[in-house]
């Protein structure tokens, strides 16, 4: 099925070359009710407690450490929680936008890494220029690299019909190995001691907003980008096209007004841009260096961030804050109570599954089931509602 990018994508039967379906249709209800969010959180905490008991950790000290690490002090709030919210937010926006259009971009992790790597690569040639020029250039370069990385998956999907779920995950692993090579090769620090890049000169770092904290200017960029994305999605024609393709690709195609393939390619690009932006900002604002474990899985956590926000850009700000707190708390839990911090990814996964379950339950109990689970039989391995 070698149709050109401009062509229609219907009528194919290869597994890879399915029409994008309503993968996200069931997850697009406008906002969980506040009560449901509280319920989900309570369930998450309960599950965490159960896991702690099961693995033989004292529950109360661990949970105390969790809350202290997230909100226990001014420093914890600004320099642990908010600082983690920023990359999670950008990556969450990337995933939310993609899922909204039915593009299952699971590759935010790789796009984020490539973005950071590009910003790192630009730091050396720009080190003697004005920060006013260098910082925007590094940010734009990082975002562009993330966009290009996602476009690989986009072209594979639209030109060769390769499922983006698989291709983006493969690209994550490739990005990880690429980073590993860069920090031992072309981008390694001049001393050649550790597998990491040279430290970013202070003049090129994103300014810290509050003295004595690690909170950097990225925290102001994130809401601006989120609101801009929301505006674009809900108040412009091209944003409408994106939502229409995600809601019902068949209808969008037969309406004839929407070039589905072109719209999807744009979504891949923008999604990658957002994740790459997150990587560049993390490098410029927090790590000041590239190394192999640059991201503790921000791109994967972002999936939970986006789904819990019901794929709403402004909602992502809230869920990114929540997960930022969770990750900050998890680190404190490991440090102070000896509980492995990976435990939070179990909680994240269960929260995703709970959202899915709530959706299915709603679909079964409400009359508007069709509107939610996409009864149009978009033959996607994703439309399997």
């Amino acid at each position: 099925m070698n149709h050109p990018v401009e062509g229609s994508t219907t009528g194919s039967t290869t597994v890879a070359a399915r029409v994008p379906g309503q993968a996200s249709a069931g997850l697009r209800q406008a906002g969980l009710a506040a009560g449901q969010v509280v319920m989900l959180l309570a369930m998450g905490l309960f599950l965490l407690a159960a896991l702690l008991v099961a693995t033989g950790h004292p529950v109360i000290p661990a949970l105390t450490a969790l809350f202290r690490g997230a909100f226990g002090s001014w420093y914890a709030i600004t320099s642990a929680t908010l600082v983690r919210m920023i990359p999670l937010g950008f990556a969450g926006l990337a995933v939310a936008l993609a899922f909204r259009a039915g593009v299952l971009n699971v590759g935010a992790e790789g796009q984020l890494l490539v973005g950071a790597a590009a910003a790192t690569a630009l730091a050396l040639p720009l080190q003697n220029t004005s920060p006013l020029l260098a910082i925007p250039l590094m940010i734009v370069g990082g975002a562009a690299a993330g966009g290009v990385w996602a476009m690989i998956a986009g072209v594979l999907r639209l030109r060769f019909g390769v499922l983006e779920v698989i291709s983006t995950i493969m690209l994550n692993f490739i990005a990880l190995n690429l980073t590993g090579w860069l920090v031992r090769g072309p981008l390694q620090e001049p001393q050649r001691v550790n597998p990491q890049s040279a430290s970013l000169p202070a003049s090129l770092q994103l300014p810290v907003l509050l003295d004595g904290t690690r909170l950097h200017a990225g925290v102001m960029m994130l809401p601006v980008v989120a609101v801009a994305l929301w505006w674009w999605l809900f108040h412009t024609a091209s944003g409408f096209r994106v939502r229409a393709v995600g809601a019902n690709v068949r209808a969008a195609e037969s309406a004839g007004e929407i070039r589905v393939a072109r719209t999807l390619l744009l979504v891949f690009l923008l999604s990658g841009l957002l994740a790459g932006l997150g990587g560049a900002v993390e490098y410029l604002g927090i790590t000041y260096a590239l190394y192999e474990n640059f991201s503790p899985g921000y791109g994967y956590t972002a999936i939970a961030v986006a789904l819990l926000a019901r794929l709403h850009p402004v909602g992502v700000l809230a869920t990114a804050l929540l997960f930022g707190a969770l990750e900050a708390g998890a680190n404190a839990m490991q440090r102070d109570a000896g509980v492995p911090s990976v435990v939070v990814s179990v909680v994240e996964a269960v929260l995703i599954l709970l959202v899915v379950a709530v959706d299915r339950w709603r679909a079964r109990t409400s009359d508007s089931a069709g509107a939610m689970s996409g009864t149009t039989s978009g033959a996607t391995p994703g439309a399997a509602a």
């Binding site: 099925m1 290869t14 950790h57 594979l156 490739i174 990976v342 990814s345 599954l353």
Partner: protein
Amino acid sequence: MSALDVGTAFLESTVRTATPLALAALGECVSERAGVINIGLEGSIIAGALGGTVAAGIVGVGGGFVAGAVAGMAIAALFAWFTVGMRADQIITGTAITLFALGLTGTLYRSVFGAAGVALTTPTAGTFTIPGLASIPLIGPAFFSQPVVTYVAMTFAVVLAWWMRRTHAGLALRAIGEYPEAAVAAGIAPRRIQALAVLFAGAMAGLAGATLVLAQAGTFVEGMSAGRGFIAIAIVVLGRWQPLGVAGAALLFGAANSLQTLFQSMGWSGIPYQLFLALPYVLTLLVLAGASGRSAAPAALGKRI
């Protein structure tokens, strides 16, 4: 080393690394034939690796393989509950299941075996040499002097090929993936068969995970599944949903994995090793792109019944 030695070592390494991929992909092949694509396969593999590690320490290697299969099946049961039971989205559920299993195994491993970095060694499966055949030059060691689990994978490839083609149950399975409406009309219970197929895939993936530990690494490492679950899904595509084709495709990926050793033994050590580490993932992308335009997929793959 002579060219023959290099070739022999390369083939042996190919078959060894292909074994877990083949096991996972054969299971996934059955699941996809029933119309369910399980992105959570990765989760079953890592669960099988940890389950196999723990059980091998307690009851020995054989019990480790069994426990790995059970652990993989348990993770798949969660996936089946959501996708077959609740008819939830297969891709999102699978993604969550993988995240869940990676987190859970990491947590359990660190809680039980202390901080990360402590190498935990397990007993490993010895090789089972088939007398006579194993002394064939070049291919002998590769195909006839391997751990038992490799022969299990080979057997599964042949038996599944026969089972899918020649038995009533195999036909029912394929019918659900191809034409669920007709299958239902013929009195086949699709969701039960789908659930069983998913559980089988989980057990096979768990067995693959146990193989990584008990026949190869001899130790558990967090995240050691390293994307093999996703590679297995690509192998199914390359093998065109046919068990024998899947086994052949797994060998191709095993070869890509083994190129590193081959090049090193040839003295081409100037190539960065990350390039070799990335090779299977690059190959997956190329294979999937190359496999486009062939409609060998079950028609109802991923569809709601």
